[in-house]
Symmetry: C2
Subunit: 123 residues, 2 copies
């Protein structure tokens, strides 16, 4: 759990808050380095890991096998992965009915819906 506020942590938080969707560790390092030069990948991994354990961040793993991280402060949403630019965007889909569609005896705690296709810029 994070105990001190450092330049590096603030930079990472800021980047994640400004993101349109989940970002990979690499992307976070690139963007946060502009705010906190010299930021190491190791620190990015340490901070996102702490955030995930503390529940402030969630990790997303889609079919392209890249792990991405996003702030949890926002509303429940889903993801769209553009197969051209590999960028992930947040989207909203009605999903109330999902929990009722499982076999007898199963219980659902959460779900993930991901669409794959082409984003507006790449189409």
């Amino acid at each position: 759990m994070s105990k001190r506020s450092t330049r590096q942590k603030r930079a990472i938080e800021q980047v994640l808050l400004a993101a349109r969707g989940p970002l990979s560790a690499q992307q976070i390092q690139e963007k946060a380095s502009e705010i906190s030069p010299g930021l190491s990948l190791a620190t990015v991994y340490r901070v996102v890991r702490e955030g995930a354990e503390a529940g402030t961040l969630s990790t997303v793993c889609l079919d392209d096998k890249v792990t991405r991280y996003e702030d949890r402060h926002r509303h429940h949403h889903h993801h769209f992965l553009c197969e051209d630019c590999d960028e992930v965007f947040d989207i909203t889909i009605p999903c109330e009915m999902l929990a009722h569609r499982v076999p007898e005896g199963y219980s659902v705690t959460r779900h993930e819906i991901t669409l794959y296709g082409h984003c507006a810029e790449c189409a």
Copy 2:
């Protein structure tokens, strides 16, 4: 593309055809080794990779970051990951409406719905 039918490939295919859901490379090796003793992990990776490239297999990457593989011969379906036993099961959910819920300009080619929770055995 696969050119020869070998003991190892037949074992892997057989395991994937019998599976209730997608399996990890490890799981495939364990189960297929019972049929073809000495089967190496490297071969499993080579065979599933060929299958994926040939389109007969699909790869699945859920939030637990484990890559799993499954035969594509079956109907369109979705996945349920049990958070207790880490097993993945195939499920069916109506999903016709999904493609219409994306922002202006986006096009959807495919989707993935995953439920997380507890399976009948673990509940």
